[in-house]
Structures are given as structure tokens and as C-alpha cells.
Subunit: 333 residues, 6 copies
């Protein structure tokens, strides 16, 4: 369909945006999904025109375009509980501040508003990211968790995100939440519940990333049809299942990424079990014309080999749909 392919810069934060842009352009990507992280993008400089021009200049120099930016790491801190050393490592000094949890959450929310403003200045209408969750920690439901506590988690999410989404609305930008463990919406029914919590307001949609749905047993293709009007962005990360020998468990034993004893792992897109072709056909069916963004992650493969390989792997599913009715042709007389 000639949909644009972009490279998500989150896993390349050790390089400068210039370096990532050069690599991506060289491999044939059409653009970047720039993460508001490290040197790549700073949301607090949204109103600095020179900064905006500088960032856009980098893209332009390499012939790349921008359809969306993302801010997973600060979004994560908006609702999370507890806030701890893990957040300190990812939110940056400005948001972390003194580390007092509520302060961190408040500053993270602030940055998400700035991210909407930044998107507007950069000329894009989609921000991809995480929401965090105050109830993810209770996923095992033991020690016992009362139902009201779960309800309160969805309410907390709505309370914290509605003001952020108000800014998105006023900027004409949409938030695309990535369904993912650790977040308020992490599977089918929690997504249904999350959309209800926020009154199905249009500012809040989804970033379709199949990788964490795969091991949960969610039908990633059906998910596209079920939430057709909320698929605002597409991130491609692939998952290989290795269940079935009775020892590799679905929770993967706290084993690190890339350890073959895990029950599942992320692999270069096209080498896993995601039914990409059916997914691309479904995206065509719902009329998705946005970017296909590569979130490349494979702990067992060199990323310089994998990033171009996966681009080629997925492009072969982005074919033109039929412009011909077969039965019509068949019946010609």
C-alpha cells in the first residue's frame, strides 16, 4: 500500500538523533518515530523555535519524515505505583527531581502535556506512549485484592490522564497508548475497561504493538477489527513463543531477554510468531494509512543487522490491495 515505514528511536538512545537518522535513511526507512528521550527529543523545549527547526533539519538532511513521536518513559510514571529506582533510571533528572513519588507523577504528567505541544510544533498529530498503572502490581491477585481496589485503579488513571488529554485536544493531537504489561490496559478486557474509564474520548486511542499480546494469547488480528476506530499508530515488535516443553513457563522465571529457557522472547520482526500478513490485511481493511514503525528488539541479534533485515521482512506484506473484483472478472461474458 506504500504505507511509510519508520524506525522507533527508543532502543537507539545511546546514539544521537543525527546518527540514528543516518542509519535509518541508509537502510531505506521513510522516517523516524522519535522517542522523547535522551538527546533525541526534549519535550520541555517545545516552545523553542530554534530547537524545533534543528530537529526537523536533521530529518530533512536525511530525507526522512515524521508522522508520530513517542514518550513511553514519562507516560509510564504518570500513574505508576510504586515509583522507584526503575523510574529514576528512565525519566530523566528533571522529572525525577527528589524522587518523591507524587512529585514524580505530577512532573511526568506535565511533560506529557508538553509532548502534545511539541508534537503540534513538529507538525505531527500522534503521540505514542504508555500510561503507567497503580494496579499493575496486583496482577497476580494475591495477597487478596478487593474489587474496589481494581476499580480505583481505573479511576486513578482517568483522573490523572483527563487533564493531559485536555491539552491533547486543544493541540489537536491524539495519544496512542501501547497495550503492554505494567500499563492500565494490557490485554483485551483491560483495554475495554480503560476506554470506558475515559468515556471513549477521541483523544485517547491505541498503538497496535502485537508483541506483548502474543504471549498473553490475545488474537492480535482480531484486536485490529475490535478496536478499529482506536488504532492510531502501529509499532512492530515480534515475539517468538517457546512454550510446550513443560519447563519454559509463560512468566519466564525472571530470566533475561535472550535466554533460550524463557517461554517467549522478542525477536527481529519477521522471525517470530506474529501473523504479520493477516495483520497488514486487517490494517488495510480498517483503512489505516499511518506509518508502520519498527520497534526493533532482539537480544540475540546485532541491531545493525536486524534493523534493515526486518524492514525488508515486513515490506513484503505491505502490498497493494486488489482493485479488481474477481467474481466480476470471472463472470465476464
Amino acid at each position: 500500500m506504500a504505507r511509510p515505514f519508520t524506525l522507533f528511536t527508543g532502543q537507539w538512545a545511546d546514539l544521537t538523533l543525527e546518527e540514528v537518522a543516518e542509519l535509518a535513511a541508509g537502510w531505506g526507512y521513510d522516517g523516524l518515530e522519535i522517542a522523547v528521550s535522551g538527546e533525541h527529543l526534549d519535550a520541555w523545549r517545545w516552545d523553542d523555535e530554534d530547537y524545533i527547526a534543528d530537529r526537523l533539519g536533521i530529518l530533512e538532511r536525511h530525507g526522512l519524515k515524521l508522522w508520530a513521536i513517542s514518550n513511553h518513559l514519562k507516560g509510564q510514571a504518570v500513574c505508576d505505583d510504586p515509583i522507584d529506582f526503575r523510574h529514576q533510571a528512565i525519566v530523566g533528572a528533571r522529572v525525577w527531581g527528589d524522587g518523591e513519588p507524587e512529585g514524580v507523577r505530577r512532573r511526568a504528567a506535565e511533560e506529557m502535556k508538553h509532548t502534545a505541544r511539541l508534537a503540534r510544533r513538529l507538525g505531527v498529530d500522534t503521540v505514542v506512549g504508555f500510561t503507567g498503572s497503580s494496579i499493575w502490581q496486583y496482577v497476580a491477585m494475591f495477597p487478596p485484592v478487593p474489587a474496589e481496589k481494581i476499580e480505583a485503579g481505573y479511576a486513578d488513571f482517568a483522573e490523572r490522564w483527563n487533564p493531559i488529554l485536555d491539552v491533547f485536544d486543544s493541540e489537536g493531537v491524539r495519544f496512542a497508548h501501547e497495550v503492554h504489561p505494567s500499563e492500565i490496559a494490557y490485554d483485551y478486557y483491560s483495554t475495554v475497561k480503560t476506554l470506558e474509564a475515559i468515556g471513549h474520548r477521541e483523544a485517547f486511542g491505541l498503538n497496535w504493538d502485537p508483541s506483548h499480546m502474543m504471549w498473553q494469547g490475545i488474537d492480535v488480528v482480531d484486536f485490529i477489527y475490535d478496536f478499529a476506530d482506536r488504532i492510531y499508530h502501529v509499532d512492530c515488535k515480534d515475539t517468538k513463543m517457546r512454550m510446550g516443553n513443560g519447563r519454559a513457563g509463560i512468566l519466564s522465571s525472571h530470566l533475561p531477554w535472550g535466554d533460550g529457557r524463557r517461554g517467549w522472547d522478542f525477536v527481529s520482526a519477521g522471525r517470530g510468531d506474529v501473523p504479520w500478513e493477516q495483520a497488514f490485511r486487517a490494517l488495510t481493511a480498517i483503512g489505516y494509512e499511518g506509518p508502520i514503525s519498527m520497534e526493533w528488539e532482539d537480544a540475540g541479534m546485532d541491531r545493525l543487522v536486524g534493523a534493515p533485515e526486518s524492514l525488508a521482512a515486513l515490506k513484503k506484506f505491505d502490498f497493494e490491495p486488489s482493485t479488481q473484483s474477481f467474481d466480476a472478472a470471472f463472470s465476464q461474458d
Copy 2:
């Protein structure tokens, strides 16, 4: 094995034979399986020598050969009941006439005889096609259908086709029925029964097309072994299954081709679930040396992209068999 690959023209009836021939030759096909349909072939002109020469001339100009012709649409009308608007759209004015069902069936049978004569004139010994069926409509078996009614359906088939097959015999041509819903033989046991009904006469064999056997759960490779002496032709159409989410049903809800909510759909050969490699090995095993004909159909892909792609996809299974006994080499001393 260097078996010839042909393109079935049925789904290209909106183009002239000349146009199809040019495309097919350009993509590397060795020949065409020309459908007696539209402008491509007219069975009623079987005794018009200039017409025959003209048709063969088109092939020759493009370096293509002919191993079989087909006439699915008129074959369909021979036994069908009811005969209705659907047939009107596909059988052509000459066979349709005033649309009186028995007249349509009679004229369709007549055309099938001509098709055998036409095949002889064109120098080929195989006609691919459908038979139609007076009992397909009772497949759901409700409202209740007495067993004699089913027996009568097979008898009706034999009665209508035996005279046609007599002409095939006298022309030295064989009919290759495509096992397919809507036909007298649509799965394993109905094929067994159909061959019995016709006394296993040699004039009646099968066109192995796995696409509709896939979703019925028929073992398409075993089918080749089971009916080894009746595989007269091979048509390649691929099927992708999408069952398993508990909502996409096997009957597919009257949803149109290409709708991802169907339980299964046709896809460009090589992109579906047909075990092509095992099938090609089985064809080698039974000594099938006829053409491999591409019946290209994929409602989600541009046919100009798909027709050459699928040719490449299937050619990689048409490898030379071993000329070496491994154990022999292994034992060399």
C-alpha cells in the same frame, strides 16, 4: 522437475486473450489454461478452422503452449438446481437463452461436448471444469432430506454426464473435475461416491485444486495418493485459515472474499496454508507430469503483483527428484 507452469485465464476474463498472453509470457509462464469464457475461447466455434488458428496464433506469438483448456462455468450448469440469476451472470447468452432451467442445462451439456471437440482441435487432451449438482443445496441436511434424494443426485449426475463423456471418449479427451463446493464431488467421500456413480470410467478424472479442501479439513496430499490414477490436472489456489478465535466460523457468515473476519480466505499461492512442497513431492511420486496451473485469486492483493510472485513461490517446489540412492552412496566402500 521442469513441469510446465500455466496461468488459468478465468480470473482475467476482463482482458483479451492477447493481453493475458502478453502478461503471462512476460512473467515467465510456460503456457495458459484458457477458460472457455468471455473473449478467450468460444466452444461453439470448435469447427471453425480460422478461429482455431487465430487462438493458437496468439499463444505462438508469445511463446506459450497449451496443455489443457477449461470450462467451469458451463459445466456448473449441467446438473445445477436451482438454475437462477447466478447462472445467468456466468453462462453467456447462448446457453442461458430464455432461462428455462432444463433448457439451460441441456444447452450447457451441449457446450461441454463442444468443449471436448474444441480441445481436440486445439491439440490438448484435458478439459478442466465443474459438474454442477442437483443436491448441493441439501448440504446442511435440514429441512430433512431422505437418503434416496441424495442417491438420486448422484444418479442424475451420471445420467447427464455419461453422454457428454461419450463425446470426450470419441475425441480422445479427458474431463478433469475440480472438487469444489457446489459440485457433485466436493470432499473425500463424495468423490469416492461420484467415481462409483460413473463406473470409474476413464474419461472422468480430477483436477487437483487444494483450496476448497483445505477449509474442509481434507488432507490435500493424501488426496493425491488416494486418487493417484485420476489426477488429470493441477490447479493451484491457496487458502489461509483464520479459525480459532471462536468468532470466525467455518461458514464465514456470508462475508465477502477478502474480509478478515471470515474463517478462511483465498490468498496468493504460497501465502496460505496449503503444504505445497509435500504436494509437489506427492505429484512426483504418482508420476504426474502435466502442467501446474496457477488459478490466482486473492481479494487483498493486486493481481499484477500476485501473479508473478506466486509463480516464483511455487517454482521453488518443482525441484528435480534425487537420482541417487542415499543408502547406496552411504554404503560405498
Copy 3:
């Protein structure tokens, strides 16, 4: 849950209602789901008070109750196309008349209205049945069927059933359609579409009978959750799958019921593959408190053996739900 268990009399139409009542009561059934068929019930006598009293008297004599009546056979004729010998065998002389199709459909519709009136007189608020369908015949989609033809089928259904449902509304009775091949709604998406066609009017709901959903690959338990507010009645018929050997196809080769070469068959409830326990739990979850009706059908078992056996088999899933919160008990301190 002590839900009542009833016996559907449709497959016992060769016996008198009195005989069926005696058998059912002897086996421990709580009531009957009387079919408007044969000697059992005559819808055209709905306003005959003596007749009503007589029928109710039979039940009373045997200590049985009535929660629903059914009229599958005449419902079938309301939309069906074609109307043929099969309908003649099941609709009765009054509806068949001279057999002219449109007249049959009209009289069948008339009887369905009477059936609502009859239900009211008998003191029940649910009529179970079929709808028929003018487009079921096109389920194989070949010869090609234009999309408008399918749409027209749903429209035809709405047009023919709305006036019937108006009578249902005025009588305060609901129609529970059985999702089944040959009907307008036969799987998940055709049910969605059917409910839309009729504007989700409350008079039209569903009779949950898992038997024909099983072989279509529909998740019969999810179906209860998905259409929770439309489950008006429950019929229990079980299905045994026999797919997987590559020869028994899903369409079952026109083989008769009870032939082991079929890909699936009906068996005495509890001997097949329906996940009854999960289904009963789902019925509890949606608050279904109506009757559990046994539609007993197994071509390989004597019905006098099977009808009591299946009652025992299903009763073990009708247990009382928990009245205790485990976590609460667990936390007691």
C-alpha cells in the same frame, strides 16, 4: 442452581403428547418444551379454550410445567427459498396448501403469529424456533453472488418477521431464534447482522443451542457472554467432532446422521465435545434462570436409553454457585 430441565418434544412427534409427558415425568424432567407439531400442539387452535385446558391438563397430570413452546418447522418456511418437497414434509397440510411458495411463506408467518397467541394462552412468554432464510442457499458463494443479494436477504428477513414480532410484542411473548445452518443467523457474524437488521428489537432473541456452533468453530461459551441480553432460552444438543484424519470433511459428504465417516455428528448430551460445565457457569454469570431443555438426538443410541442418561449427565453441571468470597474467608483473622 435448580434450574428446571425440560424435554423438547420435536424428536418424539411419533408419540402423543400424553405418551411423551409420561416418559419425561418418569425420567425426572421438570417440564416439556412442546413443539407445535404433529399431535402435540396446534397453533391454529390458540383461541380454543377447551383445547388449551386439555393440553395443560396433560402436563398437570404428570406433574410437569411449561416454560416455553417451540415452532421450528413453520418458522423455517417464513423466509425459505426455495420452498420444496422438504417443507411439504414438515409444515403440515394447512400451511402447505397448494405448495405455491409465496402462499406457503404467508401461511407459515400466519401460524407464527398464532404461536405467539398460543404461548400467551398457555401462560408462557417464550417461543423457540427457526426463521428460515432466502440466502442460505448461497452459503458457498459460488456461482458468484453479489453483495447486494446478501443484503437483500437480511432485508427480506426483517420485512417478513417484523409483522410477526409485532404480534409477539402485543402478546408479551418473545421469540428465541435458534442459530442454525439454513437460517438467517447461523454463526457469530450472521447473528450480529441479523440483530442489526431487526433493529435489536427486544422481541427477538436467541435460543442458545451449541450443537451447530461446535462444528463451525464458534466459541459456544463466549457466545453466551457476547449475546448475554439476548439469550432467551437454552436447548441442549451435543456434537462429537471426528475431524483430523484428513478424509472426514467438515461438510460430511452428504452422509446420513450416525455414519461414523462424517466429520461430526450429534450425540446424546454429555457424550460430545460441548464444554457444558463452562457453558452452565456462563449461564449463571449472565443471570439466566430459564429452563434447560434437552433436545435429544443421537442416531447411534436408543432414545429411551439416552433421554434419561443425558438428563443425569447435564444435571451435574447445574450446581449452586458460591455464596462465599474465598478471599474473604482466607483473610479472616
Copy 4:
């Protein structure tokens, strides 16, 4: 094998021990696995001879025996992080105190030591329970968790439990940890790692409870063979999987127990997917002669119905092994 069957009292803490004993004896249980919880058992009274006599008296009165006691709830608090409202609800006022986390952990550890002493006084040599875990909260591994943090979790466990196990050793009692989410060992490889962390000391073994291994995809029968010398106790809780429709996810959307939309749930033993017969044969194979304890939990069934039903269900797998060599009998001549 005539292994004794006991009822775990944890889910009956709203009743007195006397009441539970009466029920269990009436249903045919041979004994109880008394939870140190609620009124049932108080570990801090381990040196109160009258109390010990009173508890044993209750059992004696009902003809019940004691093979093991358990203390899941306080074990949970030994390593857990965070310590919060959930623990407050389950550990009791004495351990909770002012709720300062480290104090709670310390007092919980103290109670576990007392539990060993109590077991000794009650004449049993096995204490079943949980360990808690400081790293369970990182199971999703996002936000990123460094490997050292995971290692530190196992070390923390060893540091906190070794002193407790010293008391177990001096009392001649063994601890049987239940592999379970929220604990240090929750699947196969985390169990391997946990045993290593504790130097495989004999005081620490396992309580085989298949329920949480089922949904993780662990082979519960192989688990018995793999950890044959560490199976110190057996708890029977059953799990029904409901995956496969593409919407019910393995993490179950924070849905409450008993909600049919969950991907899995606990059910009365014998109604789920645990391969009990193979498990019992494996227990025989490793020479396990301890109690079979019923941990009854099924949110959709009345426990007064389920507790006796499940006892009958599992007893049919506890048959006598063969005392005869078949081949020997076969060869007799």
C-alpha cells in the same frame, strides 16, 4: 494406595476449627491441614500445652489426624516488597503492628519460627507455606530491571529464610514451599534457582500444588519427577483453562475469580485440566506416602457441595499399584 486425604482449612477460616473438623469428618476426610490463621491455629501459643491439647482434642473428637500444618499468610510477609494494605488484611494484628514494612517482615519471620515449634508440639514434621518475594513485583521486567536486582532478590530470600530454617532443623521439621506467583519460586527455573540460593538444604522442600503451574504451561507431572526428593507435601487445587478465543488473556484482565471471561480459573478438583491420574501415578513412582490435601477453591460452586465431591473425584486416582509383573504372568508356561 490408601494415602490419607486431608482438608486444608485456609478457605474455611470464617468457621471455627471445630466446625471445619465436623464437616470434614462427615465428608470422609482422614485429617486436616490446619492453617495457622484465624481461630484455627495460633503459632505464638506453641509453648502453651493446654492450647496444644485443646487443638489435638478437636481432631481426636472427630476421628481426624494431622500430617502437616500450614502458614501461607505470614510466610508471604517474610520477603514481600512492598508490604501494604493487602498484608494488613491477612497477617493479623500481632504481625502487622504499626505496619512499618521491615518490622512486619521481622515479626512474620518470628512467627514462622514459632510455626516450626508448633508443628513439633503438634507432632507433625511438615509446615506448608509461602516465602514472599522482593522481586515478584518486577515480573514484567518493565520498566527495565537490571540482572543484579534479580540476583539480589534470591539473596534476600536466602538471608531471610536461612535463620528460619535453622529453627526448622533444630525442631526436626521441614518447610514445604508452595510454588506460586508472588513467591520467590513460581515456576520451573525460579524453583531451580531458589533451591540453589538456599544451598539445597534439606529443611526446604516443596508443596506440590499444580493449580498455578497449569496456566503457566509447566508440566505438573514432570515437576514431580524433576524435584522428586523435594516433594514434601501435596495440595490439590484444580485449574480450568479457557484460552483460545483470542480475547481471554493469560493475565486475565484483573477480572475477579469466577468471571468466565478470565483465561483460566480455579475449579473444584476433578473439574479442571490438571492430569490428576498421571500425577498420582508419579507420586507413587517417587514414593510419596504423605497426605493428599484438598485446597478447595471454586468461585462458581457452593463449597459445601464441592468439598465432598472433590474428595470422591480424587480418591478414584489413589488406587493400589500393581503387585504383579505382567510380562512374568504372560510368560508363564
Copy 5:
């Protein structure tokens, strides 16, 4: 169907026939399938009228009947190669003699002829047994085995068994070979080949025993349909599969029966994976009216418990077929 149930005495050869008869009768068996082995039956005394009367007297005393006798162990030695210590242990001194292989085979063949004569004298027309095989030893096909060697194996079988079958013919008795590893026919295609080798002579049929077909992946129900006219006897032994954990292999590591690490094992009929109900329905379909013989074997269960249990387990599948056409009843008007 009230088919008779018999107990195969092979695994009870350490008891006298009198003792087995008493047990079997007590459990409700209708008869015995007496093995020509140990004290049970001696084929060489076929012409000793007192002996015959004595044996029949035992049955009569216990109200048991005889439909078939078996001689697996001597049949095994007819074709086997090598003949070794294993045969010495099972064929008895008379057949073993000096152990010279060809002599053993000759005497085994002689005994099989006597077994036919014995059957005739005992009034039964079926002898169940094994054939042995000179090529079973080559099943792994390595070191390489030339195709002629395999052909020679089938020829050797025909040559050795035809003279035996001649005696069967003259006595009016049929041989029912049990498809089993170690024999000439051990799976589907080797059975096809075996029947061809012997020219499909009627004297040679099959004893349907599903146990060894299960782990080979043979469809045991289809097998009944495929060889419908050769099913002369039925032996019921059940198999439980334990594959799927990636360590338990299909060849089972030379582990003894009853070891849970095997990939499969024999279990008391009704506790394994044989689809008994579908098999019994298929037996009804082909018109099998002979005995259902229990070949009880389960290394993990006491045979005194298992033999009566399995009788009850299988009897519930031997129900009466329908005498009623459902559609007929349904259509009654």
C-alpha cells in the same frame, strides 16, 4: 448392543483356568478368550476328547462362554528372526526343543495348526494371535536395508502362514492377527501390504486392538472402517499418551512399563486415550457382533481392582443403536 464381554487370560497365566474363570464370572464377564499358554490351554491335546470336555466344563461351571481362543506366543515364533532367549521364555519346552531357530519356527507353525483344530473342537471359529516377522528388526532402517529385503520379509510371511491357513480353512476357523510392533503387520500400510501378500484370503483377518496403534498415530476408528471386512475379533487394551514435554520420547527409552517418564503406557481400559465410544459405534456400523475381549494391562494398578473396573467402563459404550429415524419423528405431522 448386548455384545458379550470376555476376559483375555494371557495376563493371568500364573493362575489356573479355574481360578481365572471364577474371578471373571464374579466380575460379570460373559466369557473368556483363553490363551493357549501355561495351564490354560494346550493345543497339542486338541484330539483328546476328555481334555476338551474338561476345559469346557470349567467354563460351564462358571456360566461362561467361549467365542475365541488365542495363541499369540507361538504365532510370534512362526516368522521371527532372530529366535532367542525371549522366545525360550514364552513358547514352552515343546516348541523350543533344542532352540535351533528353524526348528522352533517349524514347531510353532505346527502348534498353530493344532490351535485351529483345537478351536474347532472347542466349538469356536476364531483364533487370535501374532504372526512374528523376519523384518521387524529392520524397523529403524539403519544400517541401510535394501528394499528387496523388506519384500522378502512379506514373502517369507506368506510362505510360512499359507500352509497354516490351509488348515484353518479346512477346519472352518479364521485367524485374527493382532496389529502390533514385532509383527508383520504393525500399522496401516504394513497391514495393507500383509493382506496383499496373502492374497486377501478370507482365513486371515484382524484382531482390532487399538493400544499399539494409538502411540503410532494411527486413527483407530478409521481402521475399523478401512478393514471392515477383516475385523474378526476385538481386544481392548488402553493407552495413555504422555508426550509433549520434549523429554518423554515415543520410543520410551527402554524404560519399563509403568515408568511415568515413558512417552506412553498401557492403562486400565477407560483411563487412557482410546476413543472407545467412537470405536464401539464404528463396530456397530460395520456389523461386528462378536465378543469384546478385555486384555487388561496396567503396570500401575492392581489387576484385581482393574479388571472389574474396566468392564464397567467399557460397557457404558455398548448401548443399543437407534431404532428410530429422527428426521422421520421430526417430520411427523
Copy 6:
């Protein structure tokens, strides 16, 4: 990882080593795994310096290297029982001699010692091969085989191989046994047992060849982790499963290689069901840096086509592992 790829010469013994070397080099192989067989290598000339130089010269001329040699055929004869025509065809005249079994075994053992010496002279430290087995013939366990007989088989193996392994030790060479039917270790538990029998001495390790583990249901990837310290060499042969139609059995009916009715067969690497990518990742995980040797075998494909094709197919899995920690990059701030 740039691991070297070699071609195993066993299946090319009808060509000279020079011819094989030329072909392999032309296709891009890095070296050969030369079989001590035919003209390729003669173990008895291990101390002939000219011969050694000549062999190495051939490799050098074609730019090939040597990492391992193999001697399957003589290894097979060390323990095998019976020794027969099959061995005569593969062990060569010198080892066969007069064919007296014990003499053949003794001479085969002698040649294995020479093979270690030859490896040392050729500069390689690994010899790949088979062990043979005196108990493989009893794999079906019928006629009954006493457990002591099985134990004796492992003891016989240890007794015969320990002296050979002593020579391996003194030469500083390791033996890599290929787990394979017909050998002492053919699946998971027999491998465990074999390593125990030999006291886990380091001289004895494994050649990981997944082809025969596939059809036995062994998890070939787990096998790498489970025997991580004993994986001394890797041979790549692929297997395609064709089970599931109920007629193709796992033992494959003595049907020849390449016959599509077999339940499984060998195919060109990359065309079968071996999970190559997961296997290569596992090899990386255990630190395997030795050669990847192609044991090419596919009875349905010309080997001149297949040998280069499979090299390309597997090389795409031999990618560089990640040198980057994703979480580290992700957290960059």
C-alpha cells in the same frame, strides 16, 4: 556468529574426496566433515605421513578446513547385535573379515581407536560417530525383555567403549556420539543413562543432530541446554513430519525414504520442521563455537541442488548476537 559450515561427506562416498571438496568449495562451504569411509579416509593409515599430507593437501587446494572427522559405520559395529548383511555392506572388507560377529566387533573397535589417532594426525580433536547397541533390537519390548537385559546392554556398551575412549584420551581427542535409533543413546532418557554408564567421562560427548529426535517428540532445542557441556559437534539434517491423517504412522510401515506415505522423512535442511533459528540461538547461548556440519539427505531432491540450497538456508540463522543491552540503550538519558 561466523561459525564455520562444513559438508559431511558420508552421503557422497560414491565420489572421491577431491570431487566432494571441489563441489563443497564451489558452493561456499568452509570445510568438510570427512567420513572414514570409501576413498575419503582410511583410519588404518593413520601413521602414514604421506597419506595424511595427501588428504590435507586436497583440502588446502580447495581452501577448505577440517574441524572434525567421523566414523559412523565402524562405530555402529562395535556393540551391535546381531551383526549381519547390513554391516557387511558398510564396514568394509577389513573390518568384516570372515563376518564372525565378535571378530567384526573387535576389529571395528580397533578401527575406532585408529580413528582417534588419525584425528590427532589430521589436527582435529573431534570424532563424530555411532556406538551401536546390543539392546536396540528390544526397543518394542515384546517378546518380553527382562530389565536386567537392558541394564546389561548399557554395561556392554561401557565395557566395549571404555578402552576405545582411553585411546581418545591419550590422543587428546573427543568422541561425539550421534543420538540415533539403532544406537545405545537414541532419545533423552537413554542419553542420560548412557552418560551415567560411562561415568560422564569427558572423552564421550554428543553430536547434536536433530533429525531423529524430531519424530520421537524430543525437544531438540532443550536438548542443547540439557546437555550443554556435552555438545561437541553439530550435524544438520532436517525432518518433515507428515503425521495426522490417521494412516501415516510414526514407524512408517517399512516404506522407503522419500515415500510420501511415511509419517516423517528427511528433507533438505530448511525445508523440514526443525526449529533451526531457536537451535542456533541455543548453540550461541551455550557457547558452541565449533563447525555446523551439513548432513544432506533428501530422497526427493537432487543433491546437487540441495547441498548449496541448504547452506544458504541455514546461514541465515548464524547471525551475530547482540552486543548491546537494550534496556541500557532504552534508559539512556
